[in-house]
Structures are given as structure tokens and as C-alpha cells.
């Protein structure tokens, strides 16, 4: 044992500070003593420290998360379980969840990201679903710093190594850069699974007498105190000393665990399942029983271990990967063990459900833990943290760029194309297997990924959206805009928005400004979800994303699942534009606003002003129009987001290998990122369809130009700015690789 946080054998007189070293406040320690009516044992203290950590207890966020709309007729399982589950028709359910592995990825990018992938996959197959798709949303500091290049390449390599080997395709992702993430990268991974309605499994313990069987990898001293120490404490120089508790992922073990569990479900051999993630065994034994209102006895001597002489606290806190707790009827235990053996997975009977309501753990023949299960979970501390609007908001809003003259448009566009954040992401997704299972109809590189739902004519669309700049300038508008953007993105491939998962990456919740940003974001997300009629079915909160006192941008990430009832063939794609086709801009006519735009950031290094807020009516209209146009066979649909209309257009030209010419009146119109707008490209003959759909739905549309030629031309009353297509292609293709060169 190296790090002091996990040195559980303190010298004389240190006992009082032990709880502090485990990340518990003095008040929390007193709360434990009052609850138990005595001093906790070391093992009990270890359990409380991980279960009451921010990461596991959501003690700072729960009060706000209750604001989310979580209900809809198609919701089968909402927030509270390992993943949200929705009905996608014909007897099929989809399980969706997103989770962060930010701090571990900073400590060891490759393994940190890899184990993050393993963790979110477990959350999905715990529900009885076969994981069919992964999606990564990443934030890093600027690539001109070697350390950031190292973190970036390590994280991508880790996701590739684990995701590819475990056999779950990574079908898309999202990437952004900002100084704020330099010492605090964000690694959020979303996983989608599908299952038959009758195969749904919940994380419940079953009645007294049910046997707890620990499946999977042996337990070692991995990530001890990971939850409390890594995910719930801020970074500073000392964080590098926390390294020895790093976990190593074993995709092969996870693959076998997936197949073993799916066989257990198929044969109805388990009552319930809980994965071992943050807080390991402590969480896996206490959460299911407190859900079912029972208790459990656990014998640590039966846990299969990798290292000898592990202490009880170590066994309880270990975050060794690729483990599952199955709750099994006594008569089926032998069959369960047999299935595990066949899949070369270890299984040990470690406990039994009781009616006591207590978690009772023994080690070396003596009882080391005896506490009420609920005291570890439901009765964990909840904080109404003080919150207050930051003093800087007014200044931020008034801090706008005053343009004396029209900037060079061609140069501006080329600069955007050459930004790693906006250029091609092929360098990333070509390292990911995104084709496995033969489901990928529209793959990475589009607004959303479209998967077929095997065995049906249905399709599932996936996307995530985040925008640190806009959320920083206005957390509520920002949070809401992300939901609208995600909805528009799935509509771009013809899907109807169905469910949201969110990953809320924020700074230090003990700062009122950060809690205000958090509350505002949750409010914005909730408003947009209500307006769209889309429920939040799950998510994750990551606080303490700060380094040396600098908080990250408020960085919510919105994951959206969309449903296509009947797959359209061929679906809209960026590469289906052709010479002579007409170009339309569909959506609300805003007074152009560059606040928070990529253009201002890239060309002026400026982040200020107040971004446009969303508009319910315009938002809904845009989503409906997009879906109708997709159904009507429109070859190209692409939403206007980061980089504005100019970039959206350039992306279509690059993908399709053909130029375009568009007319504009106000140049800001080309770069503003105002919401609810998209580009449609269609043969001139389809003009009536476009106008019919748009006027029917009541959404403004404008024919702005025509595809053709070998350059991208912006024309203002005869004054033309042109970017040579081949130059654009090169800038866009090399954006990432160029910046990754040492």
C-alpha cells in the first residue's frame, strides 16, 4: 500500500484523522457515529468513505437532479438503476447510459479511459442488454502543449484498445479543446444496449435466502479509495502521488463476463445483478439490498483475490475491474457457477440476503462490519450547497467584439477548418472499430450515427452534444441549447428524439458560483426536455473538475437516443450532394449573434457576449421539418452548429467532393451558431417538396445557393469570397494530425 489515503493502519493517535484521510468531513464522521451510536470500525469507515463520496452518493447534486423530467410512456426504467431503459418497439428495449472517467484519465490516460469504457459497458449489460455501441465525448487542453498531446493520444488509444478488444463498436464521438481542460481532461463515454422486453434485469437482491455470487476478475488492491480519492477530490501537485491506485483494464475478462452474464439472463438463472464499479464490493452489496429493503451477510474470506493478505477495508474498497455481483436463487447456484466456468470466469459465493436490513461483513471469521444498508445509500448525506450567480456574468455579457470592418471570410473559414476541434476526426475514429455487428448505417463523421435495430426495419440514432464556451457564457441557455442541438442532430438522420442521458462535468461544488452554474444548467436541460417531450433516463455527475483552483467550463454533455420507425434507404448523408443541387437554409431567422462562437474564439481568441437562447416553437418546428425532409428523401441534411453556416457548408462540400456557391447579406450570418437551423441540399426538382414540408410545418426556409464547381464561394451582391475546395480539404484533413506532431 503506497498512498497515505489508503494506509489503514495508522500509527498511535492517528485514528481521529483517519476519516479525513479517507475523504470524510468531520461532520460526516460525526453523522456516522450518531447513526451507529458508536465509533465505526475501520472496515465500516472504509465503506462509509466510499459510499458517501461525492461520486457515489451524489450528495451535492441529488437535490437538483430531481428537477429533470424523467417520465414518458416509453420509459421502462428511469434514473436510479445502472442504466435508463426505453421501449423502441416490436418487443425491443434500448438501455442507455453515460459516465465520466475524468480524473483517472488524467492520472493514466490509457488505462483511465480503458477502464471508463469497461465501466459503462457493465452498466449496460447489468440490465440484461447486449451492449451494441459506444460513444466518446472528450475535452482536452490545447494540443500545442506536449502534456495535452500525451493525454489525448493516450485516452484515444485506451478507448480503442479496450472497446475494440471487448467487442463493442465505438460508433462516434465528440471532441473539444480549451485551456481550462489542460490539467483536467474530460472523458465521458456513452453506451447503448438492446434487449428483449422479457429479458430485463434489475439491480435488486431478491428475497432473504438469495445467494450473492461474485463473478469475474479476482480482487486486487486496484483503485483503492478510487471513488473517494480520485473522483471526489480536486487535483494539485500531490495528485500524482495517488498514482499507485490506478486500475488496469482487461477487455478479455470483460468480454467473457458479458457473454457469461447474457447466458445467465437467457437461462433466467439470476434474480438481479449489480456491477462493481466505483466503491466496488461496498456498493455492490449495499445498493441492491437497500433497494429491496433487505440485509446481507458477506464473507470476505470467500472473495477470490489476486493478491494475498488483503485487509477487510482493502477488499471492501477495491475497484478491481470486470467484476459483477449476481443474486441467485439457492437452487440455481450450481448452474450459475457452471456457466461462469464455461466462460473461464471465476465465481465465488460470497453472501446471502437476510431480512435484517443490515450489511454484515465478516473477515477472518470475525464480524468487521454491521451497519444498516440504508445508512450507506439512501441515508447518505445530501447537501443544499450554497449557490450564487458569479459576479462576472454581467461583464462577460457586455464583453463583445466590436467589428469595425468585415473580416476576411475565406481566411476565417480556412482557420476554422484547420482547428483540431472542427477539422476531420478520422484520426480518432479510424482507431475505433465502428462497424462490428453490421449495424452501422450512418457512421462517425455525421451529425448523428444511425444504427439498424437488427431483426426489424427500425433504426436507432445516437449523438452527444456539449459546448463549454456557450455554457460558460450562459449555463441555462447553454444547457437547453445542447438538448435542442442533440434533438436536431438525430433528426438529421431521420430519427425522432426519444431519450436523454446527461453527463454533468463541473468544477468544485463547494464554490457557490459552480453550484449556480450547475443549477442553471439542470434548469436549462429540464426546460428543453419538457419542450421536446423527451425524458432524462440517466446520467452522471462529475464535480471537482478543477486544478489549482481553476474550474473547468461548466461542461454538461447531452447524450440523445433517437428512433427511426422505418429506415430510409439511402439515408441523408453529408456525401450525397451533387453539382446543380439546390442549397437551402431551414430554420429560424435570428439577428446574427457571434457570442461563444468558434469564429470569435479562433479568429479573435475571444469568448464573451451573451449567446442566443433557444426558442421552443422554432426548435420543435426545425426538428419536425428535418425528420419530414429526411423521410421525403432529401439527400443531404446538416445542422448549423459550431463554425456556423460557413463551416456546415464546407463540410458538405468536402464530404461530397463538390464546390458550392451561396449568397449572403450580413457576413456574421455565415459564422453565427444560433440554434434551430440546418442546411438541406436537394435536386432542383425537389424544390416543391422542400417548400411544401417547410410551409406545412411552419418553419422559415431560404434557397441560398447551388452546389457545383471546385471552390466554396460566398457572394454578397457580386463581391465574392472563395475557398478552393482542395485547399479546404487539406486544411480539414490535416487539422488533427498536424497538431499531434511533436
Amino acid at each position: 500500500m503506497r498512498t497515505e489515503e489508503v494506509d489503514l493502519e495508522p500509527d498511535e493517535g492517528e485514528v481521529l484523522t483517519l476519516h479525513a484521510r479517507l475523504g470524510l468531513s468531520d461532520d460526516e464522521y460525526r453523522q456516522i457515529i450518531d447513526g451507529l451510536g458508536r465509533e465505526p470500525s475501520r472496515s465500516e469507515l472504509a465503506m462509509y468513505s466510499v459510499m458517501w463520496s461525492e461520486h457515489c452518493s451524489y450528495k451535492s447534486s441529488r437535490v437538483h437532479l430531481s428537477r429533470f423530467p424523467t417520465e414518458a410512456p416509453w420509459v421502462v426504467v428511469g434514473p436510479g438503476e445502472n442504466a435508463g431503459v426505453v421501449d423502441v418497439g416490436e418487443g425491443w428495449l434500448a438501455a442507455l447510459r453515460i459516465e465520466s472517467h475524468n480524473h483517472p484519465s488524467f492520472v493514466e490516460p490509457h488505462q483511465g479511459a480503458a477502464t471508463g469504457v469497461g465501466g459503462i459497458i457493465r452498466d449496460i449489460f447489468t440490465m440484461g442488454a447486449r451492449p451494441i455501441a459506444l460513444w466518446d465525448s472528450l475535452r482536452f487542453g490545447p494540443l500545442d502543449q506536449p502534456r495535452n498531446r500525451y493525454l489525448f493520444a493516450g485516452v484515444v488509444g485506451g478507448i480503442a484498445a479496450y472497446g475494440n478488444a471487448v467487442g463493442v463498436p465505438t460508433v462516434g464521438g465528440e471532441l473539444a479543446f480549451a485551456e481550462h481542460y489542460s490539467d483536467n481532461p474530460l472523458v465521458n463515454v456513452m453506451c447503448l444496449g438492446v434487449l428483449r422486453a422479457e429479458d430485463l434485469v434489475l439491480a435488486t437482491s431478491g428475497p432473504p435466502g438469495t445467494i450473492a455470487v461474485l463473478l469475474g476478475a479476482p480482487t486486487g488492491r486496484d483503485g483503492i479509495g478510487g471513488a473517494s480519492v480520485l473522483a471526489s477530490a480536486s487535483f494539485d501537485e500531490t495528485s500524482l502521488e495517488k498514482r499507485p491506485s490506478v486500475q488496469v483494464g482487461d477487455p478479455f475478462a470483460e468480454k467473457k463476463l458479458i457473454e457469461a452474464c447474457l447466458e445467465l439472463y437467457r437461462r433466467k438463472l439470476v434474480v438481479g445483478v449489480q456491477d462493481l464499479g466505483a466503491a466496488g464490493l461496498s456498493c455492490a452489496v449495499s445498493e441492491p439490498v437497500s433497494r429491496s429493503g433487505h440485509g446481507i451477510t458477506v464473507d470476505l474470506d470467500r472473495v477470490h483475490t489476486r493478491e494475498p493478505d488483503m485487509t477487510a477495508p482493502e477488499l471492501l474498497m477495491s475497484e478491481s475491474q470486470e467484476r459483477m455481483m449476481a443474486f441467485v436463487h439457492p437452487d440455481r447456484v450450481d448452474e450459475v457457477v457452471e456457466v461462469a466456468r464455461r466462460w473461464e470466469t471465476e465465481a465465488s459465493v460470497v453472501g446471502e440476503i437476510t431480512s435484517s436490513g443490515n450489511v454484515v461483513v465478516s473477515h477472518g471469521g470475525e464480524v468487521v462490519v454491521d451497519v444498516p444498508a440504508r445508512s450507506l445509500t439512501a441515508e447518505a448525506p445530501r447537501y443544499q450547497r450554497p449557490l450564487g450567480e458569479p459576479g462576472w456574468m454581467e461583464d462577460l455579457w457586455s464583453n463583445t467584439v466590436k467589428f469595425v470592418a468585415q473580416p476576411a471570410i475565406a481566411t476565417g473559414l480556412l482557420q476554422l477548418l484547420a482547428e483540431p476541434e472542427l477539422g476531420s476526426k478520422a484520426w480518432i475514429y479510424e482507431q475505433y472499430d465502428y462497424m462490428l455487428f453490421l449495424n452501422t448505417v450512418v457512421g462517425p463523421g455525421h451529425d448523428a450515427t444511425l444504427l439498424r435495430l437488427k431483426g426489424t426495419d427500425r433504426g436507432l440514432a445516437l449523438t452527444t452534444d456539449g459546448n463549454g464556451r456557450v455554457c460558460y457564457l450562459d449555463p441555462r441557455r447553454g444547457g437547453a441549447r445542447l438538448v435542442w442541438e442533440a434533438a436536431l442532430n438525430v433528426a438529421m438522420v431521420g430519427a425522432e428524439p426519444l431519450a436523454v442521458v446527461d453527463n454533468l462535468n463541473f468544477g468544485n461544488p463547494e464554490k457557490p458560483e459552480v453550484m449556480w452554474q450547475f443549477r442553471e444548467t439542470v434548469e436549462g436541460i429540464s426546460e428543453a426536455c419538457e419542450a421536446l417531450g423527451v425524458p432524462v433516463v440517466g446520467g452522471n455527475v462529475s464535480f471537482y473538475n478543477e486544478t489549482d483552483g481553476l474550474d473547468i467550463y461548466p461542461s454538461p454533455v447531452i447524450g440523445m437516443l433517437g428512433l427511426v420507425e422505418e429506415l430510409i434507404w439511402p439515408p441523408p448523408r453529408l456525401d450525397r450532394a451533387d453539382a446543380e443541387m439546390a442549397i437551402y437554409l431551414v430554420g429560424n431567422e435570428w439577428a446574427p449573434n457571434l457570442a461563444g462562437s468558434a469564429f470569435e474564439k479562433v479568429t479573435f481568441g475571444h469568448v464573451g457576449g451573451r449567446p442566443t437562447g433557444p426558442d421552443r416553437a422554432a426548435g420543435r418546428a426545425a426538428v419536425i421539418a428535418a425528420r419530414r425532409l429526411a423521410e421525403a428523401g432529401t439527400p443531404v441534411l446538416h445542422d448549423v452548429s459550431m463554425g456556423g453556416l460557413a463551416l456546415a457548408l464546407a463540410e458538405i462540400c468536402i464530404a461530397s467532393g463538390v464546390g458550392a456557391s451561396v449568397a449572403y447579406s450580413d457576413w456574421r450570418f455565415l459564422f453565427s451558431e444560433d440554434p434551430h437551423r440546418f442546411v438541406a441540399v436537394a435536386p432542383a426538382a425537389a424544390d416543391h417538396t422542400i417548400s411544401a414540408v417547410c410551409s406545412e410545418v411552419g418553419v422559415p426556409f431560404l434557397r441560398i445557393g447551388t452546389m457545383g464547381g471546385d471552390s466554396i464561394v460566398f457572394d454578397r451582391g457580386g463581391v465574392r469570397a472563395a475557398v478552393d475546395l482542395s485547399v479546404a480539404v487539406t486544411a480539414w484533413r490535416t487539422a488533427l494530425p498536424e497538431h499531434l506532431r511533436n
Binding site: E108, G220, D222, P244, V248, E307
Partner: protein, 76 residues
């Protein structure tokens, strides 16, 4: 330079290969560990300088201190 995995860090590969050997009937195998060694051919006559540079390379690139420990040997 010889690079060893820190003992407390899980080694799935070693465990898997041990199992494979056992399945092949090599029951005497207690543990299997994989180490890496990196052999650099340096254009550098001064042995101490060579070592210092090598150590620097290990810390900056070649070794992952989170997972590994290393020793450097210089041959002239």
C-alpha cells in the same frame, strides 16, 4: 534498459498466459510475468552522459511510471 511492471498492478496478460501453460500441462508454473527491455544504440561516447540521457528518455517517454519501474544499463 529493463522495464518491469509494478508488482501491485494487475497483469491480465501474465495471468492469461499462465492459464494457457497450465492447460498445456505445465502445472509447475506458479506465475508468469512479462518485462520489456528497450535497447538504444546511442551516438554518445561519454557513458555517464549516455546514462543521464537514457534516464531522461525513460522518464519523458519510454516508461510509464504509473505502471512500470525501470533500470538503465550502459554498455560501451
Amino acid at each position: 534498459m529493463a522495464i518491469t511492471r509494478r508488482p501491485e498492478i494487475a497483469d491480465p496478460e501474465g495471468a492469461t498466459v499462465k492459464k494457457a501453460l497450465t492447460d498445456l500441462g505445465y502445472n509447475e508454473v506458479r506465475t508468469v510475468r512479462f518485462d520489456r527491455s528497450i535497447i538504444l544504440d546511442l551516438e554518445e561516447n561519454d557513458a555517464t552522459r549516455a546514462r543521464d540521457r537514457a534516464v531522461e528518455m525513460c522518464n519523458r517517454l519510454l516508461v510509464n511510471p504509473v505502471l512500470e519501474e525501470y533500470t538503465v544499463e550502459v554498455e560501451t
